[in-house]
Symmetry: C2
Subunit: 421 residues, 2 copies
């Protein structure tokens, strides 16, 4: 979570190099100097530029639940290094730029490009390292949506069933007449604002309930995700329009727990993390009663994020050739959602896209699809170019509208360059 108002315009964005972890000297020394400390109870702790350190050190400030990788060897990610930095593209604003410049100007903490399963580019900046998990923000949702698609494919979850079959507690809420499918595709009419620039937005109450922000003395609001979710009121109809709201991912995570009898961390370990041959354990932020933050609390290494993307690119076959995710689950995602419903959400930069099972489907000529999180976290899967890009970042502005004008054309340019050979 980011708790500070972002800079007003891209023109005012701070110099990435000047605010790198190395330049700032955060959390160096025993103890670090007072002005270099980053703590959970410091309101600035979750704000840029401290995020360049804190996004790679989440577990050191909050409780977490482990996502076990199992005991086997990691699946192979062979190296085939290639210099992508000079690949040229034009930003959505018409500015010429190189891939290397894009990486810096989207405040990447790390970026990894796979082509046909081989690592052509793997770079880390500042606080991130190959073995260190970084917060995935809303990329988490795509894991939750994939888990739902897996349970549906396995016959353990009925997407057309009402939510209340699993969560009778939600009968008096916005979800009282919603289907699991509507939650999976975020076509829920619920009073909940995701506007990070609005201090009154419900997203802050959500984050506070889940322990992702300090609750503070005298706090009398909900003290767990569940306590927050039962307060949500209906606003509009279900099924008509895509409306991106993190609470839907929390509701879906709750459905998954009830349907599987497993915690979200254990379910992710069993259904995805162990099957794809992850290299490191992952972890979730949890609330005070141990509930994982399914909307944005997953932390993984960059390499494991890329492994998941590569598995999705290959229809559920993990690196190394093992079936990790049912083909039907991947097909349910890649077929995409309804672009007409998506268009009602009004994303000017994402014309023609759709949303399905908590994945963003570009519907571009390459049939690319994405997992997206605030501040620039993403998995970009381009089946046509046989390319996967995983990026962790600490962009000062939360909304992806701040980096899409650079990111999306850059990824397309790399795809085309890789296809040229």
């Amino acid at each position: 979570m980011s708790s500070s108002p972002p800079p007003a315009a891209a023109a005012e964005l701070p110099d990435p190099a000047a605010t790198s972890v190395d330049a700032m000297g955060w959390m160096q020394g025993y103890p670090p100097p007072t002005d270099k400390l980053i703590t959970f109870d410091d309101p600035a702790g979750g704000a840029y530029p401290r995020t360049r350190w804190s996004f790679s050190h989440v577990r050191e400030t909050v409780p977490t639940a482990n996502v076990w990788r199992g005991n086997g060897p990691p699946s192979p990610l062979p190296a085939a290094p290639r210099d992508l930095s000079q690949i040229a593209f034009t930003t959505a604003a018409g500015q010429p730029m190189s891939f290397g410049e894009m990486v810096e100007r989207t405040y990447a903490d790390g970026i990894l490009v796979l082509h046909r399963g081989a690592v052509v580019c793997e770079q880390y900046f500042g606080a991130l390292a190959p073995e260190r998990p970084h917060i995935a923000m809303s990329v988490t949702k795509s894991f939750v949506g994939t888990l739902a698609a897996i349970l549906v494919a396995e016959g353990a979850l009925d997407a057309e069933a009402p939510v209340t079959i699993h969560l009778p507690e939600l009968a008096p809420t916005a979800y009282g007449d919603a289907s699991v499918r509507e939650v999976m595709d975020m076509t829920i009419g619920v009073r909940y604002s995701e506007d990070y620039a609005d201090p009154a937005a419900e997203v802050w109450g959500y984050a506070r309930a889940g322990g992702m922000l300090v609750q503070g003395p005298g706090y009398a609001g909900p003290k767990s995700f569940y306590e927050f979710l039962v307060t949500l009121e209906k606003d509009g109809a279900h099924g008509d329009a895509f409306a991106y709201k993190t609470v839907n991912a929390e509701v879906l995570a709750w459905v998954l727990r009830r349907a599987s009898g497993r915690s979200l961390a254990d379910l992710l370990s069993e259904k995805i993390w162990r099957p794809i041959g992850a290299e490191q354990d992952a972890y979730f932020m949890v609330d005070r009663i141990g509930t994982e933050a399914g909307g944005g609390g997953l932390n993984t290494t960059l390499r494991d994020l890329a492994r998941f993307g590569e598995t999705m690119r290959n229809g559920g076959i993990a690196p190394g050739g093992r079936r990790a995710i049912p083909a039907a689950a991947v097909a349910d995602i890649t077929r995409g959602g309804d672009p007409a419903k998506f268009s009602r959400a009004g994303y000017p930069l994402l014309d023609g896209w759709s949303y399905r099972d908590m994945w963003w489907i570009t519907n571009n000529p390459h049939r690319a699809f994405m997992a997206r999180g605030i501040h620039g976290q993403c998995i970009y899967v381009d089946p046509t170019a046989e390319m996967v890009i995983a990026r962790y970042a600490a962009h000062p502005m939360a909304a992806n509208g701040a980096n899409d004008p650079l990111t999306l054309p850059a990824f397309q340019a790399v795809a085309e360059a890789l296809m040229r050979g």
Copy 2:
């Protein structure tokens, strides 16, 4: 940490089976029922019987720092199962008992016995599992002491140097005229009580400063381990008598950070965890500025605890035959400390023992040595019997005096049985 007064006498101890995690149903369901919740801010959360769950779920309630195992395969622990449960012994109180009864009546969460490097017994109870870390309590100190011995063996730390060479901040404290060696062997004269049965003991202030207990509204005391350590006053002489005080381990951990330029978690990963071929990552509880709890905050799996013990038994050679710890470091530990200094601490059950580099040396005919933590955590290394026992437990009484009368004769009986073949 345990925050509750223990039962007054062993005769009043609760039935282990009736208070098992399975019997109590802690933290089952989404959400768990209110009366089955265990949270960090519940004063009962750190007290028996909830400890049977919480000792295996520490990271889900507090911030932690990872101790990375590296990317290689775990070192081998071949299985050679054998039923030890009927091995008979006589308790220190003269009562006949079996090894199996001892395991239950010391509230073991798990026990693992190695003989000549093979696993003859490996059992888990309640919340513990082979891949799940459990809090090691003061067994942590033996890791810290071993790290100090390693740095000394490598020439990176001078045990005879004054503490203030590394920690000038401690000049006005009890440690102002102490040597690193005196800290390593806990012969420090410092006003600090470790009596868990005394609510006024300094150990509670230490735990609160380190974030291991709730600080509460209006808390105005130290907010980090460092802030607590600089308050410690001298009480008596250094070098004369063993006096078990957790703060010495925190001071030593601080010395190690300054001497190595590494965090304790990174140093443990580099010098022990990766070299011994640990199977899972370990982790430390940390205070609000990320400082690891070197006195009792390490969490490991039972198997990895046994791997460390086996490495110590073999003079620093890890399972599989790789040199993991310098022979000189292990030799410095196993030579033991001064039994005359130890006897002044007054442990009636530990007659003739000594303390060296934060290990407990029995000086018994088998030359056994131990790492020991409250509530029954331990590593027991018997070089003569070529045996290592690792136990994690949730004994209702903190002090090991509550389990030693059963534990020590049982371990000796198993050693003799294994030697008979």
